[in-house]
């Protein structure tokens, strides 16, 4: 009996740390994005409060907020795909993320680049996960 208890205790000590770490992975320092994007947040608030303001206006009034800001609205930042060929300047990850399998096909046919196709596939996975969430929510609304 004592041996069994000791074995169980040893097993718990051995296995528990492995399980304990996973919830910690799903956390982040919220001050990170707040600090990094503080200027852009101010710019967003300013644009919201001043309808019709242009990027040129903002660059004159608050150049520090919009330093390095791209003038194109058709592209989005995706650090994972700063290199490689983007379709329509839209990161391959987002093609997959917003359009799912069709996005992967678009990247595959247009970019003809295995790395970009892989990124769009990763986006497709995110898209599928997002759809799953909506499915769960929608179903829970009915049952």
């Amino acid at each position: 009996m004592k041996k069994i208890l000791l074995s169980l205790l040893a097993a718990l000590v051995f296995f528990l740390p492995g399980f304990a770490g996973h919830e910690n992975l799903f956390s982040y320092d919220q001050s990170g994005p707040e600090t990094s994007l503080a200027g852009l947040q101010k710019a967003e608030d300013f644009v919201t409060a001043h309808e019709g303001i242009t990027l040129s206006d903002l660059q004159l009034i608050h150049p520090d907020w919009v330093r390095g800001l791209s003038g194109s609205s058709g592209s989005f930042i995706d650090p994972g795909s700063l290199s490689g060929q983007r379709v329509l300047r839209i990161p391959s990850f987002l093609w997959g993320c917003f359009l799912g399998p069709a996005g992967v096909i678009v990247v595959y046919l247009v970019a003809e680049d295995n790395d970009e196709t892989r990124k769009s596939f990763m986006g497709c996975i995110s898209w599928a996960l997002g759809l799953t969430v909506y499915y769960i929510v929608a179903m829970s609304a009915f049952y």
Binding site: E23, L69, G71, V133, A138
Partner: protein
């Protein structure tokens, strides 16, 4: 008695099925903020989708007034009331997230039906955490994925490299309920580049479902726009 139950069940199922098909429009406002060492991005705009029209409209007002429209096999860029560019693409409107949300046709798109296999499930501190591993044929290209959910809503996704290092995290926060559908109000994305973290935050607000007062915003007819197409 049994007959009453059957009739009640039939009426209920007809009601529910009719109600499920009743979502046909969704719109809202969004912003995307991102910053890397060398570039920054701020995009603000509105989106409109009507599944009967089959047209997805992204109307951006910052940093540039332009509209991106997908219709059938065309992707249009509208600037100053004229079609600036048009590109032929596969018809993907039925695969858009807006379409799938409105139709509640999401059951075939979970990871369980992909090339990923559920490796483990655990409950921890109010979260359900699942770990998914890629199929043997994909293991050379992608790593595992971990997903956590809270209160039946997705909370976080973690992407790993093939070397089992974290390459990206996404957090879905501030869910809002609009017309019976929930939508994340904020998505935080953290990309790990060496020792550095790069952030991108997408926010959604003013989500509207089945808007019946602004029909014209959901409709697109290329003939109504000035010519000047530059086909890509």
């Amino acid at each position: 008695m049994i007959k009453k139950f059957l009739i009640t069940g039939l009426v209920l199922s007809l009601f529910l099925s009719g109600y499920a098909q009743n979502y046909y429009r969704i719109s809202g406002e969004y912003s995307i903020k991102g910053k890397s060492e060398t570039a920054a991005q701020l995009v603000m705009g509105k989106f409109y989708y009507d599944k009967n029209e089959g047209t997805i409209i992204h109307e951006n007002y910052f940093p540039k007034k332009e509209t991106w429209i997908t219709s059938d096999t065309s992707l249009y860029q509208i600037i100053d009331g004229a079609i600036a560019t048009r590109q032929t693409i596969p018809d993907f409107s039925d695969f858009s997230i807006y379409h799938m949300v409105l139709n509640n046709q999401l059951d075939n798109f979970g990871l369980e039906e992909s090339d990923f296999t559920l490796e483990s499930v655990e409950n921890s501190e109010g979260m359900v955490i699942t770990t998914w591993s890629p199929s043997r044929s994909m293991k050379d290209h992608v790593g595992k994925i971990m997903i956590s959910s809270k209160n039946k809503n997705m909370y976080g996704i973690i992407f790993f490299s093939t070397e089992d290092k974290i390459i990206k995290k996404q957090f879905f926060e501030d869910y809002v309920l609009a017309g019976g559908l929930t939508f994340p109000g904020r998505i935080v994305e953290i990309t790990y580049s060496g020792e550095k973290e790069v952030y991108q935050v997408t926010t959604y607000k003013n989500i509207r479902v089945n808007d019946t007062q602004q029909d014209q915003l959901y409709h697109f007819d290329p003939a109504n726009f000035k010519q000047g197409i530059r086909a890509l």
